[in-house]
């Protein structure tokens, strides 16, 4: 875009003045002007946990945004699904705090490390031994989430029976085919 002027914040602690900060126990409706500016001009996205001990930012658009219905996501979050944004690890910066992590073993021998805040338990991101260069940001941990656009449902075969999915997005029984598996 020709007007794609980099206008980046120095840190997540320094939001622009017209930015409605939906952070720390607030759920104020987000300011339209700020959302538009973020969508058009900024490629940095900030997030953290609920208590504020952990803060991160990443640069660029997510590779994939998905609703995950796997039992491990359900187990760890206590919610029927989690919404994740896959990003390159190289675009991710941890600005504050050190999340605790726990290794969730998968059936195929790989594992998922789930990183969360040890103070408030907020889920922040996951990393995968199978895809070490990728991180999965938990959408609920983002400060400004209007850019989030989930495109698929994954691990639908472990979806809870009482959860209805009629949003028209494609559904995959397990992981979607990726890399060399995709034909």
């Amino acid at each position: 875009m020709f007007f794609d002027i980099p206008m980046r914040r120095k840190s997540v602690m320094d939001p622009p003045p017209d930015y409605d900060y939906p952070y720390r126990n607030k759920h104020v409706p987000q300011n339209d002007a700020a959302i538009q500016r973020d969508q058009l001009m900024s490629t940095k996205h900030a997030g953290g946990c609920g208590c504020g001990q952990i803060e991160y930012e990443f640069d660029g658009s997510p590779l994939l945004t998905a609703h995950c219905h796997c039992r491990d996501c359900q187990r760890s979050s206590g919610a029927p699904k989690s919404t994740i944004l896959l990003i390159m690890k190289s675009s991710f910066t941890l600005l504050k705090g050190e999340p605790k992590s726990y290794e969730f073993k998968l059936d195929d021998g790989n594992s998922t490390n789930r990183h969360f805040c040890s103070t408030c338990g907020g889920a922040v991101y996951s990393s995968f031994t199978k895809m070490p260069e990728i991180l999965a940001i938990k959408a609920g941990s983002l400060v400004q989430t209007s850019f989030v656009k989930p495109t698929i449902h994954i691990w639908v075969n472990s979806k809870q029976k009482w959860e209805s999915l009629n949003d028209g997005l494609p559904q995959f029984p397990k992981n979607p085919p990726m890399g060399e598996e995709a034909e």
Partner: protein, 139 residues
């Protein structure tokens, strides 16, 4: 559907186990910002029980205290080891306890009947059922 049931659950790593024996008061989807932040998703599904029906039978979950948007003191509990969310004490609805539905081993009996805190719902969180929606919490 308020029949008496016995069900157990816990965290992923097995440090925390709990049991409920009694009636489900209500099961509800919650879209509040705290549920979004603690689960990392669009919200959670809570099964609400009377406190007497709920027992932690193994381990002691870590406590996190916060005030919700309308100023009620809330305490949520999670496993300090694996970070699994377990339950929330509803201080404004004492003596009720809101258990995360998917923390149960087999949450097949869960029947969500409404959506709460829809005012805080994210734009990408698409509600695809016809359950009643309330902008705020349970009354």
């Amino acid at each position: 559907m308020n029949e008496s049931l016995q069900s157990s659950g816990g965290c992923y790593c097995g440090q925390i186990k709990f049991q409920v024996k009694g009636e489900v008061f209500v099961s509800t989807y919650c879209h509040c910002r705290q549920c979004q932040q603690s689960t990392g998703g669009a919200g959670s599904c809570l099964s609400i029980f009377k406190k007497g029906a709920f027992n932690v039978i193994k381990g002691s979950p870590k406590e996190y205290q916060y005030a919700n948007v309308i100023g009620h003191a809330m305490k949520c509990y999670f496993c300090g080891m694996c970070g699994s969310q377990i339950y929330t004490d509803l201080k404004n609805h004492d003596p009720l306890v809101a258990i995360r539905a998917t923390a149960f081993e087999d949450p097949i009996w869960v029947q969500p009947t409404n959506h709460i805190w829809v005012s805080a719902k994210q734009s990408w969180d698409f509600i695809s059922d016809d359950l009643p929606q309330s902008p705020e919490g349970l009354t």
